[in-house]
């Protein structure tokens, strides 16, 4: 019998898992896919919001500012790329400037650090490539950019290293109420647990409805993005929001943590919880809206476009509470924006709820908050590179040319405690295949390494989820 079972290994579930690994609890993290961070976490704007935006009195307002403040420590402990580059909410007319000033007042109320209102001149000095149509902006220096899946993977790895069990490929089929606790029926065996944390993202209402009458409904909301080559990465230095108007919430233009440029998203409520296809209309809309903020965006340099789904509800607030008619079953649901920014605070808040239910928790004396850092070969000095290759020659073989990722790095991420098993898993952890050739050259080599390291046949190596096979079999024997 587990003490706590967390359903869903997105950034929310992984944050909670890591927070719980500070205590002597038998915790299991259950995920339907073959890797963590495979849903909303892998396709979003990758922004750590400063926190001036949420509606007063909401959990979002409370947890965004609190979460934002926790990122320096957590990303340092876990070796996750994060930069407080600052965010700008840009206005294009006087009416929008009023909105900017309202956000400023609200930000001051929420204790968002160091925010200020900029006039056109100050704004263009900061970001010279912005459109000439801008009139001013709200500047929040505490806003930042992050690698969202890197964060979730790091949280999961640290949780596992501190004793949490991770169960992948375990889609939850049913949950039975026991006299004490629950039995979770999954695609790969049953799990008995005293407490359940429902962090199932887009499916959190479905999971909740397995133990309760429906109390909320998730509306999958699709957002589409263009990702540009690094050659466009310095178009802007900060996250550029557009001031919300009556017509549109606007599209964001931002540098990514790895130096690309990201433009998106739109927002479209859809039925399909798996509907991550892009559409011509939305991609064109995003391109057009993005071009409003920044001059001369060259869409010929887009290396990929993608869509992500957010878990929205009409109430537009996080749901973090024990279910009304399922004791010891805690929903952590409707975590849309600013869910990533709030994640560390959501984890603490959830554990506080658990403590109320379970009583004081015994601390895990062996808890180690530090994750063994990744070696980022290309960032090392020549001396360090030479030294490393001498120790392990596999660092002398570049597999991904575009991002200069070596075999040594790929082997390391396969053998970590939440290691990569798929081509996209490698891409998310080490960026191999993330560059301008999008894996054209390195995919065969990456597949060969995965097969070799995990003792698989190369035809069993999949791109992403189970079923995303790449090879159909050997060529004809001659």
């Amino acid at each position: 019998m587990y003490d706590v079972a967390i359903i869903g290994a997105g950034v929310t579930g992984c944050s909670i898992a890591r927070e719980l690994s500070r205590y002597n609890l038998k915790t299991i993290l259950i995920e339907k896919d073959n890797d963590v961070a495979n849903g909303t976490t892998k396709a979003n704007s990758a922004i750590i919001h400063a926190g001036y935006d949420p509606v007063p009195g909401t959990l979002k307002a409370k947890l965004n500012v609190a979460g934002n403040a926790m990122f320096d420590k957590i990303t340092e402990e876990l070796d996750v790329p994060f930069k407080r580059v600052g965010t700008l909410v840009v206005a294009f007319c006087e009416e929008e400037m009023e909105e900017v000033r309202r956000l400023y007042e609200q930000g001051v109320d929420y204790n968002v650090p160091d925010i200020q209102v900029l006039d056109k001149e100050a704004l263009l000095e900061m970001e010279p490539n912005l459109s000439d149509e801008v009139v001013g902006a709200l500047y929040a220096p505490s806003g930042g950019i992050i690698g969202p899946w890197e964060l979730a993977i790091a949280l999961a790895e640290n949780a596992v290293d501190n004793g949490v069990e991770l169960k992948l490929n375990a889609e939850v089929k049913d949950i039975k109420k026991l006299d004490e606790g629950y039995e979770i029926v999954t695609a790969s065996g049953n799990v008995k647990t005293k407490y359940v944390i429902n962090a199932a993202g887009l499916y959190s209402d479905k999971i909740h409805n397995m133990v309760s009458t429906p109390t909320f409904e998730i509306i999958p909301t699709r957002g589409e993005y263009h990702l540009f080559d690094k050659s466009e990465g310095d178009k802007v230095s900060r996250v550029i929001f557009q001031a919300p108007s009556k017509i549109s919430k606007g599209v964001v233009v931002l540098p990514t943590i790895h130096g690309n440029l990201l433009v998106g998203p739109n927002a479209e409520a859809i039925e399909d919880r798996q509907g991550i296809e892009t559409t011509r209309e939305a991609l064109d809309f995003v391109a057009k809206q993005g071009s409003k903020s920044v001059k001369e965006l060259n869409f010929g340099n887009v290396i990929t476009s993608f869509a992500g789904l957010r878990s929205k509800t009409p109430e537009n607030d996080f749901i973090i509470e024990e279910s009304a008619d399922a004791k010891n079953f805690i929903n952590v649901a409707a975590i849309d924006s600013p869910g990533l920014s709030a994640a560390p605070a959501i984890a603490e808040y959830t554990v506080e709820i658990l403590k109320e239910l379970m009583g004081e928790l015994e601390e895990n004396k062996d808890f180690n908050p530090i994750r063994r850092p990744h070696i980022n070969f290309i960032e090392l000095s020549d001396e360090e590179k030479a030294e490393l290759i001498k120790k392990d020659p596999r660092y002398g073989r570049v597999i991904c040319r575009c991002e200069s990722i070596t075999e040594g790095e790929i082997v390391d991420i396969i053998h970590r405690s939440v290691g990569a098993t798929t081509v996209d898993g490698i891409k998310r952890r080490a960026r191999a295949g993330m560059g301008r050739c999008q894996g054209g050259f390195c995919a065969p080599r990456v597949m060969e390494i995965i097969a070799r390291e995990l003792n698989k046949d190369i035809t069993e190596v999949v791109k992403d989820r189970n079923g995303s096979y790449i090879l159909t079999g050997p060529t004809k024997e001659n």
Partner: protein, 422 residues
């Protein structure tokens, strides 16, 4: 580790091999070829079809056979090479930083560098196809590597987007391996590939070539399940009502090649906006003195024979440079594309370095019939060449004899343009 060489060639494909061999023939010693793959020969090693060498050897060879002739010659000359070696950086003093598993990190000081890194394929993102992002979408070249070198099939029912030569070749290859190629879909009203490939790879196998069509959506959550195509208008926009659906498990992309110039850009070499490669002069020298470039890193060729020709010039001139025979100071002649011509390589020439003739490679910007190609020197017609049919997919070349140019004084500009024949 610090090494010293007269000439370092970056890339051991057809361009790098020819350049190294020719540099050696012209008196350069102390040459090193750096290759990132596990063997020499570059992409030729995965091109197991024939049709290579018709111009250079007057016979039809497969890609690996063509490569082997050069590899053998290189080895016979005892030219040094390092495999599995990745160049991380070059600087303007021609200091190269590279790594491999046996030497570790090496610094190599060169007197001259020849860039021969080739090109890469454009991807789905670069052409913005909407839809899902399943497995089963890959570039034709990646598929070619899987099928011909690794020995694995990548799908059973295939739609190919783009009619570049690799796409055409892979349409035949996949068919021969038992896959069904439903169609080759081409955005333009003409194919970007060689006519002989359209005949031998599509027509001979009854594979439809749908011109002025494109894929407007890719379906399938984990693996490709189908595509929707549509006809496009003259502005290349899909025409509503012309949609057609194909069930397939694979989409191969042959939508263009991009010269791979990350190293060149980092060292500050001037890159041409149209070719995507370095601007070069008559000696195939880039904007940085002593750094030469040749093959697909300069502009995308359709025949390896032309790569070889161009690279021998680069190799010969790198040797002349090292031996102090190239004149760096001279009147610089601009070579400019006129009407109907997209680009010309080289972009400039120093006439005192031109030996017996100046060879220009160029591509036209559209399909034309019954034209003449007019070569002008400072606005005056030098000569013209009749062209019954020209197409962007087939590279054109023009030879200008040195002695003809000697009749002019203080030449500023050479242009080539297409004019309708009367």
């Amino acid at each position: 580790m610090m090494l010293n060489y007269d000439i370092v060639v970056i890339g051991g494909g057809p361009a790098g091999l020819a350049a190294a061999i020719e540099a050696h023939k012209n008196g350069a010693e102390n040459i090193l070829v750096l290759e990132r793959d596990r063997e020499l020969g570059g992409i030729l090693q995965q091109c197991i079809h024939n049709g290579f060498g018709l111009h250079v050897f007057k016979e039809e060879l497969t890609g690996p056979e063509y490569a082997e002739r050069f590899i053998q010659e290189l080895k016979d000359m005892n030219i040094e090479y390092k495999l599995d070696t990745m160049v991380l950086d070059i600087n303007e003093d021609k200091l190269i930083t590279a790594i491999n598993t046996t030497d570790g990190l090496i610094h190599i000081q060169a007197k001259a560098i020849v860039l021969a890194m080739g090109c890469r394929e454009r991807t789905r993102g670069a052409i913005h196809i909407p839809g899902t992002r399943p497995a089963g979408v890959m570039t034709a070249g990646t598929a070619q590597r899987f099928v011909n070198m690794e020995g694995y099939m990548v799908g059973k029912k295939v739609v190919i987007l783009g009619s570049g030569d690799i796409g055409l070749i892979m349409a035949r290859r996949m068919t021969l391996e038992g896959a069904k190629v439903e169609a080759v879909v081409e955005l333009m009203p003409y194919s970007g590939g060689l006519t002989r490939n359209i005949v031998q790879c599509l027509e001979d196998f009854n594979i439809p070539l749908l011109l002025s069509h494109t894929i407007i959506n890719i379906e399938g959550r984990d693996r490709v399940e189908g595509v929707t195509i549509a006809k496009v208008d003259e502005n290349r926009k899909p025409i509503p009502g012309t949609e057609k659906h194909f069930e397939c498990d694979t989409v191969l992309l042959s939508v263009g090649l991009i010269p791979e110039n990350e190293l060149s850009k980092n060292v500050g070499i001037k890159i041409n906006r149209i070719t995507g490669g370095p601007d070069v002069n008559e000696s195939m020298e880039t904007s940085i003195e002593g750094i030469f470039a040749c093959g697909n890193v300069v502009h995308v060729h359709d025949l390896v024979d032309w790569v070889t020709e161009e690279s021998t010039r680069a190799g010969r001139n790198a040797a002349r440079y090292v031996l102090g025979q190239l004149k760096s100071e001279d009147n610089i002649v601009e070579i400019k594309p006129g009407k109907g011509i997209r680009y010309i390589v080289p972009q400039t020439a120093r006439l005192s370095n031109v030996e017996d003739k100046l060879l220009l490679y160029m591509r036209v910007d559209d399909i034309y019939e019954n034209m003449k190609m007019v070569i002008k020197v400072d606005g005056k017609e030098l000569r013209s060449i009749k062209k019954r049919h020209v197409a962007p997919g087939e590279m054109e070349s023009v030879n200008i004899l040195k002695k003809q140019l000697d009749e002019f004084e203080d030449i500023k500009e050479i242009t080539v343009e297409l004019v309708e024949e009367e």
